[in-house]
């Protein structure tokens, strides 16, 4: 292994080591705080190794992984998100200290899976990363085994995820069987004759179905609300952000490398999924009384918006596509973390504050918390001052420039419906009820810190988005330039 390859692999190595370290530490002494600090330390050290990896990017490692700026942008995003989730867990599971350490191990492994996923350059690594991510998520979702909902959510996710995995595998097998190659680039190289290879094409669509499941694009979205609602709030935050964003990042890498955008059909299908997702997500959320379900539906819609950006920008220029996706995902991650973080901050594993009625008058009981939640809802709705607006601006910019009017119209319609249910929550929070008998919400300092930082980021990146844009627009290096390292495929 060359030094370059080692440098490129460093983030993965450090993160894996951190996971092992936490596991060992738990075996030695069950301490929630210790596990947390180890996790946080591991995430931070991994974060610190990213510049090191960036210095050699873009680099192929063993033909399975491609470490490039595009991937590293998401690495940084996921590590920060994981850190936030870790902090939220610290607050959420505070009641039963020293019983919940394993959540951190799972968090680290699933983050590792996400990192692998976005850097994969080969179907095997795609599969491996996705499963590392997903299998770690099963226990995380069902973590509060004493309650019924997490269990239900866990088994639903497990079964359906298994189904999706088998679609994925079968699809990969079809692609492999027809083309005889597994690396993205090689698939792309044979992409010209894809039209004459119905099996490979079918395989690609099966893979798309699996990805659609992970992204909860309609009509693969049915699991989303149940799982979001059942999972503990910090896990939902992770699920909504890291899991989704990593799959989407992969989607972009995979489909641009295999040159799927050359196929009109493909874009049409994606566009259709986008339209259906936007409408279904927004309509389902309309009168939802559970905030977590509402956000789940909203995430369906958001994946639809993002898909519009994907399709539209894909019609234009690849660098714009990557920039759009990267920015939107970053914005969505920040916002969703803030939203679920706020839910998490007023819940714990004994009681989830989920019903809209739990939020009645929250603005007058805990103004700061409510302000963060309101900010994140406005950001989800795409109102200026927030980063969500800039994200939506990207989608519109791409859609308008590519003149994909049906898609743009759907986004407008969806946003219109969206405002209604986001504002319903806001309205509940600002209801002037007699708050005397409702307890003021105490805020765990860890959650407070996370929320404060996230709110600052949502606002800051909304007002001065240029920094984030600069970071996101590094990503066009996705497959430009000659990657270093050995690009050997199977001998």
């Amino acid at each position: 292994m060359t030094a370059d390859a080692f440098a490129a692999l460093l983030p993965f190595i450090v993160l894996s080591a951190a996971a092992v370290a936490v596991m060992l530490a738990i075996a030695i002494r069950r301490s929630f705080r210790l596990a947390f600090w180890l996790t946080a330390g591991g995430l931070l050290v991994t974060l610190a190794t990213l510049p090191c990896a960036l210095s050699v990017a873009p680099a192929y490692v063993t033909g399975l992984l491609l470490v490039d700026a595009y991937g590293l942008f998401f690495h940084a995003l996921f590590l920060l998100a994981a850190l936030a989730v870790a902090l939220l867990c610290l607050a959420y599971f505070r009641r039963r200290d020293n019983e919940n350490e394993e959540i951190f191990v799972l968090l680290l492994t699933s983050t590792l899976g996400a990192l692998l996923l976005v850097s994969s350059a080969h179907l095997a690594m795609f599969f491996l990363g996705l499963e590392v991510l997903t299998i770690s998520l099963f226990p995380m979702i069902a973590y509060s085994v004493r309650a019924s909902r997490p269990l239900e959510a866990g088994i639903k996710y497990l079964m359906l995820s298994g189904l999706a995995s088998s679609f994925l595998m079968f699809g990969m097998a079809l692609v492999y069987g027809d083309l005889g190659v597994l690396s993205f680039e090689q698939i792309g190289a044979s992409g010209a004759e894809l039209g004459q290879k119905p099996l490979a094409l079918a395989g690609l669509f099966l893979i798309l179905a699996a990805i659609g499941f992970k992204l909860s694009l309609a009509p693969f979205h049915l699991w989303t609300p149940d799982v979001y609602q059942g999972a503990p709030a910090p896990v939902t935050a992770f699920l909504a952000t890291v899991s989704k964003a990593s799959v989407f990042a992969l989607l972009l890498r995979f489909f641009t490398t295999v040159h799927a955008e050359r196929s009109e059909t493909f874009l049409c299908v994606l566009g259709l999924l986008a339209v259906v997702s936007i409408l279904a997500g927004n309509l389902l959320a309309l009168l939802q009384d559970s905030l977590k379900r509402l956000l789940a539906y909203s995430s369906i819609a958001h994946m639809g918006y993002l898909m519009v950006g994907f399709v539209a920008a894909g019609l234009l220029r690849r660098d714009l596509q990557a920039e759009t996706i990267a920015f939107y995902l970053a914005a969505y991650t920040l916002t969703s973390l803030a939203a679920f973080g706020a839910i998490s901050a007023i819940s714990d594993d004994a009681r989830e504050s989920d019903r809209l009625s739990d939020y009645t008058g929250l603005f007058w009981r805990s103004p700061w918390l409510a302000a963060v939640l309101m900010l994140s809802l406005l950001s989800l709705a795409g109102i200026p001052l927030t980063v969500g607006f800039v994200g939506k601006f990207y989608v519109f910019a791409a859609g308008v420039q590519a003149e994909t009017w049906p898609l743009v119209t759907t986004v407008v319609v969806g946003s219109g419906i969206g405002i209604y249910y986001y504002l319903r929550v806001v309205l509940a929070m600002i209801r002037t009820v007699d708050t005397a008998f409702l307890p003021a919400q105490s805020l765990h300092p860890a959650a407070g810190l996370v929320l404060a930082v996230l709110a600052a980021l949502v606002l800051g990146a909304g007002l001065f988005p240029q920094t984030l844009i600069d970071a996101a627009s590094q990503t066009p290096q996705i497959s430009a330039g000659a990657p270093k390292g050995n690009r050997h495929s199977a001998p």
Partner: protein, 613 residues
């Protein structure tokens, strides 16, 4: 001295502002002094201006005063400027003079009213607006005064606001006149878009040079202006508001609805006579409107029992004469009749007011009777007023009306017809005047009268009576503001008939109401008479028609669509969205196997789309 012209309108304005600012906290004794005093000062100033202006040569009798630049936009620009010539001077004198007398009278009439300050404030505002109207140098400023007097009319008709019917009458007056005003506004727009100016003199000059006589443009412009004039002056077809306007205090009826405001239409047409001269058809129409109106309202006056409504219909009728005069091109005759009418009709209204006050707000003439004994001063002045109204020789009304009728006779082919209508109107005038006099002032006393009016009621009556008698002698020379129309002497028989007509009316009246030769009750027994009476009583049923044509449909439409039908569209969208929600929610069964089936469906769908498309 002429430079003080601006003070004439602004002194009443100052009075208005003082009275308004005091919010009724001023001692009651001071209120009339401010209210009437400001108008009195204006009147005095107007008189001195008159002397100064009349001292000049006739051609030089023009004075223009620009106060400030009002508004400009692109090629449009008007000043806040006054224009004084013989015509506006005539109006100025009438408005301030008669206005002052009525203010003095009001001090007595309204002495017991708790809202006296508000009354005088409105009155002062009215005088201000009326003076702006007559002095305006340009049409927008005239329009300012025009609307201003309308507003004051509204305020004063509805002065006793506790009674909802007063408010209704006030709003009716405002809205009906507003219909005319809107036509007039459109006329202004038309003139500006074609002539490029709204300065009256300039516009008239340009119209005469740019527009050939009888062409479409001047006809349209004149028609639209005529719309404004018939609205304000209560002529057919917009006369319906004036009888109801009698709901206001009687001095208001005298000032606004007899002497000044209602004649604004006459003034407007006289002011823009050059335009009307370019539109002969419209001028004929003006004459026809005048003739028909004077007849119709003459008949209506015949059937009324309310003393003020009789006078109101009589006013409509007399303004009909003025329109007749305008229509036949007897400009100065119209203005002359305007002036004399202001004197005698103000006198009649003030007299009626004194009667009403003495009878504790009894207005039905059939409950009066015998007032000549209890109210001698009122009786004698009233007789003078009525004499002028019916145009008995040597009263002021005789000179003006005679001139009108003779001019009408000599005005082309339709002339004799117009003359006949006017003369028939004169007979009617004589008839209803006699009826009013005989029923109210003679016979037995049916309601006890308490004559508790002071000198501030008596003096205006006397002064106005003198003016009614002698006003015919003091005719202001209106040339060159209005072209001189030489009344060609028509045959003596026509003149004689014209002079005799009122006597005929008086005689019939005397027979019916005094001697009982043919009593009114007996006449009503004739077939169809009762129907006719009701038709006349209701002002020819115009209210009935308008209610059904405009008012009821509008109200029904408003009621029908109170909730805004357009909103249904959006409610439909909302319902559609909700429907979508309700249709989609059942897919979220929570059952794992259904979800798996859903995924399978999705996969099959995109496979089908992707592979077999």
């Amino acid at each position: 001295m002429l430079n003080l012209l601006w003070l004439v309108p602004f002194m009443p304005l100052a009075g208005f502002l003082i009275l308004t600012a005091s919010e009724g906290r001023l001692p009651r004794a001071y209120v009339p002094w401010i209210g009437a005093g400001s108008v009195g000062l204006s009147a005095a100033l107007a008189a001195s201006l008159a002397f100064e202006l009349l001292a000049l040569a006739p051609e030089a009798r023009v004075f223009r005063q620009t106060l400030w630049h009002w508004m400009a936009a692109g090629d449009f620009g008007v000043d806040f400027a006054f224009y004084l010539d013989a015509l506006s001077l005539n109006m100025l004198l009438v408005v301030t003079g008669v206005g002052f007398l009525i203010h003095v009278y009001s001090a007595g009439y309204m002495a017991d009213d708790p809202s006296m300050a508000r009354f005088f404030a409105y009155m002062n505002l009215f005088v201000f607006a009326m003076l702006i109207l007559v002095l305006a140098d340009n049409l927008p400023l005239l329009y300012l005064g025009w609307e201003g007097v309308g507003l004051c009319s509204y305020l004063l008709i509805g002065f006793w606001y506790e009674k909802p019917e007063n408010g209704y009458a006030a709003r009716k007056a405002f809205v009906v006149t507003r219909v005319g005003d809107t036509a007039m506004a459109l006329g202004l727009f038309l003139m500006f878009s074609q002539l490029g100016t709204l300065d009256i003199q300039e516009a008239m000059a340009r119209a005469s040079t740019q527009w050939p006589a009888g062409s479409a443009l001047p006809t349209a412009a004149a028609l639209l202006l005529l719309g404004g004039a018939v609205g304000k002056s209560a002529q057919l077809p917009l006369q319906v508001w004036l009888p109801d306007a009698m709901a206001g205090p009687t001095p208001i009826s005298a000032l606004i609805h007899a002497a000044t405001m209602v004649t604004a239409g006459v003034y407007l047409i006289a002011r823009t006579h050059a335009l009307f001269a370019l539109a002969p058809e419209v001028q004929t129409l003006v004459a026809a409107i005048g003739a028909i109106t004077l007849l119709m309202s003459g008949f209506s006056a015949l059937t009324q029992t309310d003393i003020k409504r009789i006078l109101a219909y009589s006013t409509i009728s007399q303004i009909g004469y003025m329109f007749l005069a305008l229509g036949v091109g007897a400009w100065s005759a119209a203005i002359f009749h305007l002036t004399t009418h202001a004197f005698f009709k103000a006198l009649l209204f003030l007299g009626a007011g004194a009667v009403i006050l003495s009878l504790h707000h009894e207005q039905d003439i059939f409950r009066m009777g015998g007032l000549r004994r209890s109210l001698p001063l009122v009786f004698w002045t009233f007789i003078v007023g009525l004499a002028a109204l019916v145009a008995l020789p040597f009263t002021s009304g005789y000179y003006s009306k005679h001139e009108i009728l003779l001019s009408a006779y000599g005005s082309g082919a339709a002339g004799p017809w117009l003359w006949a209508a006017g003369t028939a109107g004169a007979i009617l005038t004589g008839l209803y005047s006699t009826r009013l006099l005989l029923v109210a002032f003679f016979g037995t006393e049916r309601t006890q009268a308490h004559s508790h009016y002071g000198s501030n009621i008596g003096v205006p009556l006397v002064v106005l009576a003198i003016l009614s008698l002698a006003g015919g002698l003091a005719k202001l020379p209106l040339f060159p503001a209005l072209p001189e129309t030489g009344t060609e002497e028509t045959g003596g028989s026509i003149g004689l008939a014209t002079t005799a007509a009122p006597f005929l009316g008086v005689a019939i009246g005397y027979l019916v109401y005094r001697t009982g030769t043919a009593s009114a009750e007996a006449l009503l027994q004739l077939p169809g008479a009762e129907t006719l009476r009701r038709l006349w009583f209701s002002g020819w049923g115009m209210d009935w028609v308008y209610d059904r044509l405009f008012v009821f449909p509008f109200i029904a439409l408003a009621r029908l669509n109170k909730g805004d039908a357009v909103d249904r569209l959006y409610q439909g969208i909302v319902a559609l969205t909700r429907l979508g929600h309700c249709m989609l929610v059942p897919t979220q069964t929570g059952q794992l196997r259904r979800y798996a089936a859903g995924m399978l469906f999705g996969a099959a769908l995109i496979l089908a789309l992707g592979v077999w498309s």
